[in-house]
C-alpha cells in the first residue's frame, strides 16, 4: 500500500532519523511513504485567524498534491500534522476561507477538501493495526518503561483533530505495548512543553518542560517518546533526566532495523 507523505522541514534537517526510520518501519509493515512532490514547509503553526489565507497555502497545496479524492496524506511531525489537519478542516467548514484560498490557487487548481489527513500513529492504529505491528517485532522492548509524550499538537483542538481522547489518550501507549515495552502513564503527557515559546521566553518553556519530564520521572519512566521534533528539542535542552526518543526510533529498535 502506498500513501502520500509530507515529511516537513525539520525531518529534512534536524530530525533526519525520524524521517528515515518512519520510512523503514512503514516498509516493514507493507506501506510505502511516497513523498509528495514540491512540498513546502507548513509554517510550523496553524494561524486560527479566518482571514489568514496566504500562510495556509502550502498546506493546501500539499493536501491537493496528496492526490485524488479520499486519499490519505500522512505526516510524522506533530506540528505539520496539526497545521495540515486544521487547514483541511477550515477548507471543509469555512466557505469564505475556502473561497479565498481557491482564488489564490487559481482556476483549475482548486482544492475540494477531500483528502484525509492522518498522523503516522493513526495510520498504525487504524490502517495497519497494532496486531500487525506486534507481528513485525523482532526484538521486543521487554522491561523498558516508556512514557508517551503527546504534547498538545497531536491531540488538540479535539473537535478538529479527533486523534484520541484528548484528556486520556492511549494511542502511543498501545504502540509501546505492541512493541513489547511497558507504557508508563503520567498526568502531564498531554500538557504543552512550551516549544513554540522556546525562542520568545526560554524560561517559560523550561518551566513547562520540567513539569513534563518531572511528572514522567516520578511515574517511574526510563525514557520518553514523542512524535514532535520541537518537543524533543525543548525537553532535552531544558535538562531532562530521561532520554527523549522519537517513537520511530523505538519502532526501528523493536523491528531490529537499527544498524549499530
Amino acid at each position: 500500500m502506498k500513501v502520500a507523505y509530507f515529511p516537513g522541514c525539520t525531518l529534512k534537517t534536524k530530525a533526519k532519523e525520524l524521517d528515515a526510520y518512519a520510512r523503514k518501519c512503514a516498509e516493514t509493515l507493507g506501506i510505502t511513504l511516497e513523498e509528495i512532490e514540491n512540498w513546502q514547509c507548513c509554517g510550523g503553526v496553524f494561524t486560527t485567524a479566518r482571514d489568514e489565507a496566504a500562510t495556509k497555502l502550502s498546506s493546501v497545496r500539499a493536501l491537493k498534491a496528496a492526490g485524488n479524492a479520499n486519499q490519505m496524506l500522512v505526516t510524522v511531525c506533530s506540528a505539520c500534522h496539526n497545521v495540515i489537519k486544521q487547514t483541511n478542516h477550515a477548507m471543509n467548514t469555512d466557505e469564505e476561507f475556502a473561497f479565498k484560498v481557491n482564488n489564490y490557487l487559481g482556476k483549475g487548481e482548486e482544492y475540494d477538501g477531500s483528502t484525509k489527513v492522518m498522523h503516522y500513529l493513526e495510520l498504525l492504529r487504524d490502517v495497519v493495526g497494532y496486531d500487525k505491528v506486534k507481528e513485525a517485532v523482532k526484538k521486543p522492548l521487554a522491561g523498558k518503561k516508556v512514557a508517551a509524550y503527546y504534547g498538545c499538537l497531536l491531540l488538540r483542538p479535539n473537535s478538529v483533530m479527533h486523534t484520541d481522547d484528548p484528556e486520556n489518550p492511549t494511542l502511543i501507549e498501545d504502540l509501546i505495548r505492541a512493541l513489547g515495552g511497558e507504557p508508563v502513564v503520567y498526568s502531564m503527557r498531554n500538557e504543552c512543553c512550551g516549544g513554540y515559546i522556546a525562542l520568545e521566553n526560554p524560561d517559560s518553556a523550561k518551566k513547562r518542560s520540567n513539569k513534563v519530564t518531572d511528572s514522567a520521572a516520578l511515574a517511574g519512566a526510563d525514557m520518553i517518546v514523542t512524535a514532535c521534533p520541537l518537543c524533543k528539542f525543548n525537553l532535552e535542552t531544558n535538562g531532562s533526566k530521561l532520554p527523549i526518543v522519537y517513537f520511530t526510533d523505538l519502532m526501528a529498535e523493536a523491528f531490529d532495523l537499527k544498524e549499530d
Partner: protein
Amino acid sequence: MHKDNNAVRDEIIRRSGVNPRKCMRCGKCSATCPAYDEMEFHPHQFVYMVESGDIEPLMNSKSLYQCLTCFACVDRCPRGVEPAKLVEAVRLEVIRKQGANHLKADDIPALVTEELPQQAIVSAFRKYTK
C-alpha cells in the same frame, strides 16, 4: 464604550470566528492555561475585555506573546468559546501594523543554537511577524 473600540472588537470577533458572548465566566480557560503565570491578562480576561471592547490594554500587553498555542483552553471550555483564537486575533491586530513585528529577522541569529529545530524558527516567525 468608544466607537472605534467597537470597530476593532468587531474585526477581532470576525477574524477569530469566536463569539465572546457565549462565555459564562467560569474561568476554566484560565484554570487550564499553562502560561497563566507569564501573563498579565489571562485567557478569561481576553474574552471579557474583547467582549466589552476594552482592547487597547490587551494590544499593549506582552501577554499576547506568552500564549503557547496549545489549545487547552479551546478544548476544555464548556461553552465552546475558544479563547486562544481571540488571543491570536488580537496579536494579529498588533503585528499587522507597519513595523510592529514582534520578532525582527535581525534578532534571530542571536537566538539560534545548533540543535534548534527548524520549526521553532518558522513558527516563531509565523506567530510574531507579519
